[in-house]
């Protein structure tokens, strides 16, 4: 009985194979392939039953798709934003996984005229510190690939290579993420864990300075420079520079200001001297007669205040291990969360100087 059943199954398989083979061969316009296709289908009918679920886990490689659409699109313009400006006066701390003390050593006492007796009272070493804390921040968004598939946004030129559209979107979000931190957080940021904007991520340098001045820290007393405009820009900036301690003057320092203040200085300089304010051979704008004092416009200062820094004492903290792009799929939606810890502090508050108007609310 089993033999009869096997013969019947074999015959059925052969019959279907010949029929399907003939059909496919006709369909593809190659009747001479009927026998090979039928043979292949007949052989395939002998593949044993088994667990083929592993095939479900194979991720299709769609990377080839991304190159096919870009040819149809024109140039894609991106929103242009500032990057993170970590130039003069800033020291980046890239591995702040726990609050990091920035320890300062000072000598107590001082030299005195020689005499035979011991005079150690009050002499020694003193350590003080300020603590750099970083706070995690995030930017959540979802990408629906079907919105863009088949459109010119499906793939774009990013640098030397073509990138899938979702990578391009994430790259743009990342660029604007950095910009928001560099423009807002590091300046007037005020830490508020329940907040919803870049200004809430961490205390910025201006906020920290305002806090220190409000509690009358004798190591940071604002210089009363007042309002700066195109009729007094040079005089006000020079007054600020000249009011710094001698050790600042010898070491050299950076004065950070808004672009508006920089423009005011430039215009006043031109009016006073009859020629333009030129950078030095390094591209830095040194003040007249102070070749080691540089005026540097930054985006995070938006008023007519001045921020003086010596020894790169503006500490910017982050944690490389916690800078992440977490992406997951929900159906076909790509859920993305960008994360980056941010923190600001002064390494040494004696290396910071502010003008009164920097601290305006």
């Amino acid at each position: 009985m089993k033999a009869i059943k096997a013969i019947l199954l074999l015959g059925t398989a052969a019959t279907f194979s010949m029929l399907l083979g003939g059909f496919f061969a006709q369909a593809i316009g190659a009747p001479h392939m009927a026998v090979p296709i039928a043979s292949g289908l007949f052989a395939a009918s002998f593949i044993p039953k088994g667990d083929y679920s592993f095939l479900d886990t194979v991720t299709p490689d769609l990377s080839k798709l991304t190159t096919s659409f870009v040819q149809f699109g024109g140039k894609i313009l991106r929103k242009h934003v500032n990057g993170m400006n970590l130039k003069g006066g800033i020291t980046p701390y890239l591995g702040v996984s726990v609050p990091q003390a920035m320890t300062k050593l000072s000598a107590l006492g001082g030299p005195r005229p020689y005499r035979e007796q011991d005079d150690t009272d009050g002499n020694g070493a003193e350590f003080s510190d300020r603590t750099l804390n970083v706070f995690q921040s995030k930017w959540d968004f979802n990408v629906d690939p079907e919105v863009y598939r088949g459109k010119y946004l499906a793939a774009v030129q990013m640098g030397a290579t073509k990138a899938p559209f979702y990578e391009y979107i994430i790259d743009q979000v990342g660029t604007e993420y950095i910009s928001a931190i560099g423009n807002v957080t590091v300046g007037k940021g005020v830490r508020n864990s329940n907040g919803s904007g870049a200004i809430d991520i961490a205390d910025g340098w201006i906020t920290i300075a305002a806090t220190e001045c409000a509690k009358a820290n004798p190591e940071l007393i604002a210089k009363a420079i007042g309002a700066i405009n195109a009729t007094n820009g040079v005089e006000k900036v020079e007054t600020f520079a000249e009011s710094q301690p001698a050790w600042w003057r010898e070491k050299g320092f950076v004065i950070k200001c808004s672009w508006g203040t920089f423009d005011a200085y430039k215009k006043r300089y031109r009016t006073l001297n009859g020629y333009k304010f030129e950078p030095n051979e390094s591209g830095k704008y040194a003040l007249d007669g102070m070749s080691n004092v540089f005026l540097e416009p930054v985006a995070f200062i938006t008023n007519d205040g001045l921020l003086g820094v010596v020894y790169d004492a503006l500490a910017y903290g982050t944690d490389g291990d916690r800078i992440q792009v977490a992406a997951s799929m929900r159906r076909n939606i790509i859920e993305v969360r960008l994360m980056m810890p941010v923190g600001c502090e002064f390494e040494d508050i004696e290396c910071i100087s502010v003008s009164d108007n920097l601290l305006a609310a």
Binding site: A214, A222, K223, A224, I225, G226, D356, N357
Partner: protein, 73 residues
């Protein structure tokens, strides 16, 4: 009685400066926000010092300093 209004923007401060200069900090028309070092006068003032030093306040009003806030009645 009108409430005091804080003038915080530089442009808002421009107009009433000459009038405000005559105001006295002790009369409550100027609020001191924090102490400052005034380079032109060569002096450092705590917040408390400023609150009783009319010359320093006049200077801060003159230069439109944000160390003080002019209260407009």
């Amino acid at each position: 009685m009108a409430e005091d209004k804080e003038i915080t923007g530089a442009s808002e401060v421009d107009a009433p400066v000459s009038k405000a200069k005559a105001d006295s900090v002790t009369s409550g028309k100027v609020k001191v926000n924090f102490g400052v070092h005034i380079p032109e006068l060569g002096e450092t003032y705590s917040k408390a010092d400023l609150e009783c030093d009319q010359e320093a306040i006049d200077h801060l009003i003159e230069i439109k300093s944000k160390a003080i806030t002019i209260l407009k009645r």
